[in-house]
């Protein structure tokens, strides 16, 4: 096992990793920007080092400072968290060139998972269902038009390097495709410095279902009960739950086995997530996220397995001790991401004058915030993840409603009311929803 791990991230996921390391008796070194220096969670690591000024480009994305910090603090491994450098294959490679274990899959696997068109092409060849569409990058609008005619409208144009809805366009008829293609290309170029686009069939009202997997270096892969992340706004997940109320055990098993096949195909050797679009009983592979995810606690509660500790153990070369049969659905879990947002759902910075968090039975809170902390304009505006669980879906939802009532936040506005609206929505309560849910709710 590692002796000392550098936690190359900030906020709640940094604290999540620090907690896991502490529970494994592994020393932790937090890194922080100048803006985070006084944050409570930094003091919970064994050591903390400032790596640069507030802007992420100069601190949390500054590879040389992070590597230098790991070296001078004599760490033997680096945990990248999510976001920032977590899916940067170069960073993973640089870590290993300096003798630091990167807690995640290999640089090659990260690179492959990051090239959406390539991985889709790869899994398609293995007869894993994917959304019909282009093989790789589409050269121009004319080619896009030809493909669209083949797979039939509606189609969706996506950036190969994309994420978060940037460089994405839904096209419902041939007359709109040229303009949409140009716009998406420009947007992708601006956001990712890569204007590569691909075109695929647009699946109407699908569910976003993802499967957590864990794989060791000997090629053993297991899957966990799915998370339903269909409740999204502008392609950003808002509320997640597991298991999905819309997936039967037959489909669950099919999705799980498919996810394991994908992980094996790309030599995955860590915890990771395979995302699917599900429409009725059909499912389509979308992508693989080569990192721990924001919503991982849902799975931790459902299965009572600590994914971050498992991730660290796998990176240290331990074999997966779990058999597939050991992974059970013990309970139902729901997660709400509490963000600092104004009434237009725009992230807003400010001081948390007061923060009282919920507690009691069936409530888990993951946050790096305390009363008096700053929501910095330099970073994302998530205040806390509230995760509840119960013996069944109703208990988990009732607990979430109860927990949200207990939160007191002063100084910033939040999206708690949106969550409350979702939790009381009749279709949500029935478990009938798709990615259109929030749009339709208004």
């Amino acid at each position: 096992m590692f002796k000392k791990v550098l936690v190359a991230n900030r906020g709640e996921i940094a604290l999540r990793v620090i907690r896991a390391l502490r529970e494994m008796s592994v020393k932790s070194v937090a890194v922080c920007s100048e803006a985070d220096k006084n944050n409570f969670y930094c003091g919970l690591a064994d050591d903390c080092i400032c790596i640069g000024p507030a802007p992420a480009a100069s601190s949390y994305l500054n590879i040389s400072q992070i590597i230098s910090a790991a070296l001078v603090k004599k760490c033997d491994a680096v945990h990248p968290g999510y976001g920032f450098l977590a899916e940067n294959p170069h960073f993973a490679e640089i870590c290993s060139s300096y003798g630091l274990s990167f807690i995640g899959p290999s640089p090659e696997t990260i690179a492959l998972a990051g090239q959406k068109a390539e991985i889709i092409d790869l899994v398609k060849r293995k007869k894993i269902p994917v959304i019909p569409g282009s093989k790789g990058v589409v050269a121009n609008a004319a080619e896009a038009k030809k493909i669209a005619a083949g797979i039939k409208y509606p189609v969706i144009i996506k950036a190969t390097a994309g994420g978060g809805g940037k460089g994405m366009r839904i096209v419902r008829s041939e007359k709109d495709i040229e303009q949409a293609f140009e716009l998406a290309g420009t947007e992708a170029k601006n956001a990712f410095s890569d204007s590569g686009l691909y075109v695929e069939k647009y699946i109407e009202s699908p569910r976003h279902i993802e499967i957590q997997v864990a794989a060791d270096k000997k090629g053993k892969v297991v899957f966990f009960p799915e998370r339903d992340c269909s409740i999204q706004r502008n392609h950003q997940k808002v509320l997640e739950e597991g298991p999905s109320p819309q997936i039967n055990s037959n489909l669950r098993k099919k999705l799980g086995e498919t996810a394991c096949r994908v992980a094996k195909l790309i030599n995955y050797t860590s915890v990771g997530t395979v995302e699917f679009l599900v429409s009725k009983d059909d499912f389509y592979f979308m992508e693989m996220n080569a990192r721990i995810q924001v919503e991982h606690p849902v799975t931790e509660l459902v299965s009572d397995i600590d994914l971050v500790k498992m991730q660290i153990a796998l990176a240290a070369g331990e074999e997966l001790k779990l058999r597939q049969d050991d992974i059970k659905e013990i309970c139902h879990s729901v997660e709400c991401r509490i963000n600092s947002e104004d009434e237009n759902y725009t992230p807003s910075a400010g001081t948390l004058e007061k923060l009282i968090l919920p507690g009691g039975p069936g409530v888990r809170v993951d946050t790096a915030m305390t009363s008096g902390a700053e929501i910095s304009p330099f970073y994302d505006s998530m205040i806390a993840k509230i995760i509840t669980y119960g013996r069944n879906r109703t208990e988990a939802i009732m607990r979430m409603q109860r927990a949200l009532m207990e939160i007191k936040i002063e100084g910033v506005t939040t999206n708690i009311k949106l969550h409350q609206k979702i939790l009381k929505n009749e279709n949500f309560i029935k478990g009938c929803y798709t990615t259109d849910f929030i749009g339709d709710m208004k």
Binding site: I49, I51, V72
Partner: protein, 172 residues
């Protein structure tokens, strides 16, 4: 409605609205107290409606002008210049030279110390360096100066922004 006397202001890492001014319309006394405690503001007087407040601290002997650490803003690592806190005054200027990188601080060339307290140094003269991933980032003064304090030990691990030297710049 607000009357304030800010005789000096600590350089801020990134510009922020000055707290007292920002909350003038809805004066938060607690915040003012905190600001008073943390900054070098010496006197604060406030009147509104039925309220009148005077807060004073004895001014410190050296009166310093208002400056900004432009280095922090423009990314010191790239420019390979030390981060510094500048306090301007009439004849001499006290500056703190900070580490531009995470690394190991060096102040000796082999066995010889290249800097010591009281030593006069010339503009651009190297007085130490931080080795960050094998690259030496030199610490030097921008003007002729005198070293008034050395704040880290030779071969000490330093973080970004850590205070390394205090120097007195000669402005005449």
């Amino acid at each position: 409605m607000v009357k304030k006397q800010l005789q000096k202001k600590k350089p801020a890492a990134r510009p922020k609205p000055e707290p007292a001014a920002a909350s003038a319309a809805d004066l938060d006394l607690k915040k003012i107290m905190e600001v008073l405690g943390k900054t070098d503001v010496c006197e604060f007087e406030y009147s509104r409606g039925d309220m009148h407040i005077v807060l004073k601290k004895e001014p410190v002997s050296v009166i310093l002008g208002e400056t900004e650490t432009a280095q922090t803003e423009s990314g010191p690592a790239e420019k390979n210049l030390p981060v510094l806190d500048e306090k301007a005054c009439a004849q001499t200027c006290v500056k703190t030279l900070k580490s531009p990188a995470v690394g190991i601080f060096h102040i000796s060339d082999g066995n010889t110390l290249i800097a010591s307290v009281g030593k006069k140094i010339k503009k651009g003269q190297r007085i130490g360096w931080v080795n960050s991933m094998g690259i030496n980032q030199e610490i030097m003064a921008e003007k002729n100066s005198k070293i008034t304090a050395i704040l880290c030990k030779d071969r000490e691990v330093v973080e970004w922004g850590q205070k390394l030297f205090e120097i007195e710049e000669n402005n005449v």
